[in-house]
């Protein structure tokens, strides 16, 4: 299940706060300092001065220090929870966001990696920085790299859009961004579903074919592909093992071939006919062709599993597989071609009878 980043961030913050409380590290004042610092308030002059600045920017009566009201407002701005925030509370008489809310929005925008505030920007007056940030948000375009998967979370965007738009007012860029991103997510989901619908039956069709199953009939290929790539990997291993068996079987006849890491030795009995030799060579080439396919198949399957990361969910695993599926299908076709009964005709003596 996909976890909302804002929710996750909130949980982490809550966990940290609980831990601080339990260990006695945290105090109300220290936490207030931390929250004010996160909002960009200057604490060089002390907590009282920063609190006073916050109170002014939040529209609170001056001189109250860290009273219940200030604490609650800091809490609201920290969480920026869409369900708890009353947008009208945070607007000035001119309808614009109060400076404290702007700071909170910027903080959350930065946290969500929509943008980063360079170190040198810390000296820029906060209101100017906020304005710049909001302009930057307005200029964001969904086609820009890195915007995919961007945290256009439901908690942030409605907040930015809380101002009621009159009918006929041009669509704001941020609204378009949200809509487009939503459409793109839906499109990606549809494409993945379509790929699954088309590609997996195709794989099934190929592996169900007798030609492909033939030599590896002991392996229920359909079952393993359905069960997952881990088992498909096992199937590829079996295919390789079967190949090795064939190679070893070559040491039973009148032509002996030994492969070692750096050398190959062939011994041919003088009684072997030309036809037998040519049949052996033909069989060798076909066998090598299947080896190449099996090796690439195994490498592809292994490559997919190497790309898996701890914690990657089924969707991530599927995504890592999708790009490789067309190649796997192609390899399946090639393997089927190599092992068709027609292609093995006349070479049964070389260990190539597909149905054995």
């Amino acid at each position: 299940m996909e976890v909302d980043p804002i929710e996750l961030l909130g949980r982490l913050e809550d966990d940290l706060r609980r831990a601080q409380e339990l260990t006695g590290v945290a105090s109300r004042e220290r936490e207030a300092e931390q929250r004010l610092a996160e909002l960009g308030y200057d604490l060089d002059e002390g907590l009282a001065a920063a609190l006073e600045e916050f109170r002014v920017e939040a529209g609170l009566p001056s001189g109250g220090g860290l009273d219940r009201e200030a604490w609650d407002e800091l809490e609201q701005l920290r969480g920026l929870d869409d369900d708890e925030i009353d947008p009208d509370r945070w607007r000035g008489e001119d309808g614009e966001w109060l400076p404290a809310m702007r700071r909170a929005i910027v903080t959350r925008v930065v946290e969500l990696t929509l943008s980063k505030v360079p170190e040198r920007e810390r000296d820029v007056p906060s209101v100017e920085r906020v304005s710049r940030m909001l302009r930057a948000v307005d200029f964001l375009r969904p086609d820009e790299s890195g915007l995919e998967g961007m945290a256009l979370e439901d908690a942030l965007v409605p907040l930015l859009l809380r101002r009621r738009l009159d009918d006929g007012e041009p669509e704001r860029p941020i609204e378009r961004l949200r809509r487009t991103a939503s459409e793109r997510r839906a499109t990606r989901r549809q494409r993945r579903d379509a790929e699954r619908e088309v590609l997996w039956p195709e794989i099934e069709r190929i592996v169900r074919s007798r030609e492909f199953v033939g030599e590896f009939s002991r392996v229920d290929v359909v079952r393993v592909l359905r069960a997952g790539f881990a088992e498909a990997f096992e199937a590829a291993h079996l295919a390789m093992a079967r190949f090795v068996e064939h190679v070893e079987a070559r040491n039973q006849g009148a032509i002996r071939l030994n492969r070692r890491s750096r050398d190959v030795c062939v011994v041919v009995d003088r009684g072997v006919s030309r036809a037998e030799i040519m049949q052996f060579v033909e069989g060798l080439r076909r066998q090598d062709r299947s080896l190449l396919i099996c090796a690439e198949l195994l490498g592809t399957l292994l490559g997919i599993t190497v790309a898996w990361r701890p914690g990657m969910g089924p969707a991530g695993v599927l995504r890592s597989m999708v790009g490789s599926v067309p190649r796997i299908i192609a390899l399946g076709r090639e393997l089927a071609d190599v092992w068709t009964p027609q292609s093995t005709g006349g070479s049964g003596g070389s260990g190539y009878s597909a149905g054995q």
């Binding site: 492969r259 050398d263 490498g299 190497v306």
Partner: protein
């Protein structure tokens, strides 16, 4: 060591596969195989009895310098098919190495 590291370590060893030697002999196979097992003990295989004749030898060095040797036709029945077999063995050895490389290529691409 992660799987990726293990794969990379293994891949380093692949360069050893760039050198290769293929030899093809003909003669009385009985001279080469063990009478009891019917198998050739390849680790001790040394065709020095004079009853197995070297038909061809190919040496491919790491710098891709290749040396080919082939016997005179005299005394060897149908040397052409034996040479074809030798070429097939060389090709097969190279293909086997290519297969290994392909497998690791797939691994390293994703790793």
């Amino acid at each position: 060591m992660s799987l990726k590291q293990a794969v990379e370590e293994f891949a380093k060893g692949i360069q050893d596969l760039s050198s290769l030697e293929v030899t093809t002999y003909t003669g009385s196979l009985e001279e080469a195989i063990d009478g009891k097992s019917g198998q050739i003990d390849w680790s001790k295989f040394t065709p020095t009895s004079g009853k197995l004749v070297l038909v061809a030898a190919t040496q491919i060095k790491a710098d891709f310098d290749t040396v080919n040797f082939r016997a005179q036709a005299a005394g060897i029945t149908d040397i052409d098919s034996l040479l074809e077999l030798h070429r097939g063995a060389v090709e097969s050895a190279q293909t086997g190495r290519l297969a290994l490389l392909r497998m690791f290529e797939g691994l390293l691409d994703k790793g």
